[in-house]
């Protein structure tokens, strides 16, 4: 009986200590998160503005690009699970290009966020990876900070590149990749291809009449 009470005492004490530590450190985390989150969100938004300028050139638009976007609902072409943004670049109220913020769900370690700039004829103006968790030193060559690989998509379209060619060279496609990190390149190529397909099917809704 004594033994039983003793055991319960130990259990009660350990549970109590664990709870106290949990509360203390979640409070600290909550505090730090509250302090840093607005700054992090702000710097991410600023970085995005700079990135938008990298996929299309400044001469192409004179509207407020950051705020003129439409939301693309989940659809079978892009296979997106959440709404994604599509920025519409306009010059003198005429659409000149769109930027689709697409996602490759099948990167080597999680989702890769990519900006795809497309002109009204369906040619790629520029592409940039804006968020990824690929292996440093191996899969991170898709990031412009590490290599200019991502520029190989510029001027590609559904017209000058056939359906089969929209793949990495290992899969008989036309796009180069770094061996050892094929999965990363595959994910990016397929996501950009999907974005182009989506653009072709939906350009009327984006305000482009061809």
């Amino acid at each position: 009986m004594n033994n039983f009470i003793n055991k319960n005492k130990i259990v009660g004490r350990t549970v109590l200590v664990m709870i106290i530590f949990g509360i203390i450190f979640s409070t600290i985390l909550e505090f730090v998160h509250n302090k840093t989150n607005p700054i992090i969100l702000k710097s991410e938004a600023e970085a995005k503005e700079r990135l938008l300028l990298q996929v299309i050139s400044k001469e192409l638009y004179n509207n407020d690009l950051i705020d003129s976007f439409i939301k693309i609902k989940p659809n079978p072409i892009l296979k997106n699970k959440e709404d994604i943004k599509c920025y519409i670049a306009k010059k003198n109220n005429k659409v000149t290009a769109v930027i689709i913020e697409t996602r490759a769900p099948n990167g080597y370690s999680g989702e890769i966020k990519i900006l795809v700039g497309i002109d009204i004829k369906g040619y790629i103006l520029g592409t940039r990876v804006i968020k990824h968790q690929e292996t440093p030193g191996l899969g991170d060559y898709i990031d412009i900070a590490k290599s200019d690989w991502i520029n190989i998509f510029t001027y590609s379209s559904l017209k000058n590149t056939s359906k089969i060619e929209w793949a990495v060279q290992k899969d008989q496609g036309k796009f180069d990749y770094v061996s050892g990190a094929t999965i990363t390149a595959r994910a990016v190529v397929s996501a950009i291809n999907k974005a182009l397909n989506f653009f072709e099917k939906n350009k009327l809704e984006m305000g482009i009449d061809v």
């Binding site: 350990t14 200590v17 530590f21 450190f25 968790q133 440093p136 030193g137 191996l138 900070a145």
Partner: protein, 207 residues
């Protein structure tokens, strides 16, 4: 005490070559000097704060649940470091990327907390974290340097991404036309490199 910590951390108990702890990030990240150095510094920093913050509270932690509590503390500290760097040093965060969260999974941090900080006062624990971290950092730099030299034919490339533009000239290119030795960059190169490094350490030790 101070001297012992130096000798243990840098040589006799070196985390990278003797204790062989925390190999996952060690092997994955060390593709260049800058990667090794960045992860090494970040790990050292976390080891110092983990050791020095757990040592003072060691008397309040019941023996039965010390490991979960240590993990809780380490994970919370790493998250705080991660968020702080993200908010106040955006370029550094971009360059370090996945390195910082990886430190949570590094068992060398937990090992030092468990085997040293939970039994010793704060100051020796601080030294232990400092020099164990430094020892690991040096191994990461040597391994990263070897792999970068063999794999890309360069040394110190990419320093400007972490430490600012002023260091963009520090990169050394050894060969004009070097196609690269891919094995050194890929994971097997990490194992081979570490094996040679351990062999070298043991050889020096035996002499």
């Amino acid at each position: 005490m101070f001297k012992e910590a130096i000798i243990d951390g840098l040589w006799k108990q070196n985390p990278g070559t003797i204790q062989l702890l925390g190999l996952c990030p060690t092997l994955a990240i060390t593709t260049s000097v800058i990667n090794g150095l960045s992860l090494g510094l970040a790990t050292m920093f976390v080891m110092i704060i983990a050791n020095s913050s757990i040592s003072p509270i060691r008397k309040f932690v019941p023996d039965e649940i010390r490991v979960p509590i240590f993990i809780l503390v380490i994970a919370a500290l790493v998250t705080v470091v991660d968020l702080t760097i993200h908010a106040f040093a955006e370029p550094l965060y971009k360059a370090l990327g996945i390195f910082i969260p990886l430190i949570v999974t590094n068992c060398i941090v937990l090992a030092r907390v468990e085997s040293f900080a939970s039994k010793n006062p704060a100051l020796p624990s601080f030294y232990d974290g400092l020099f164990m971290g430094l020892g690991l950092c040096l191994v990461l730099i040597i391994l990263g340097g070897t792999r970068e030299f063999l794999g890309q034919g360069t040394l110190f490339s990419g320093f400007d991404l972490v430490f600012g533009q002023s260091l963009s000239n520090i990169s050394i290119n050894f060969f004009d036309q070097y196609s690269g030795f891919l094995l050194a960059i890929l994971p097997p190169g990490a194992f081979l490199g570490l094996a040679f490094l351990i062999a070298l350490f043991n050889w020096i030790d035996q002499k």
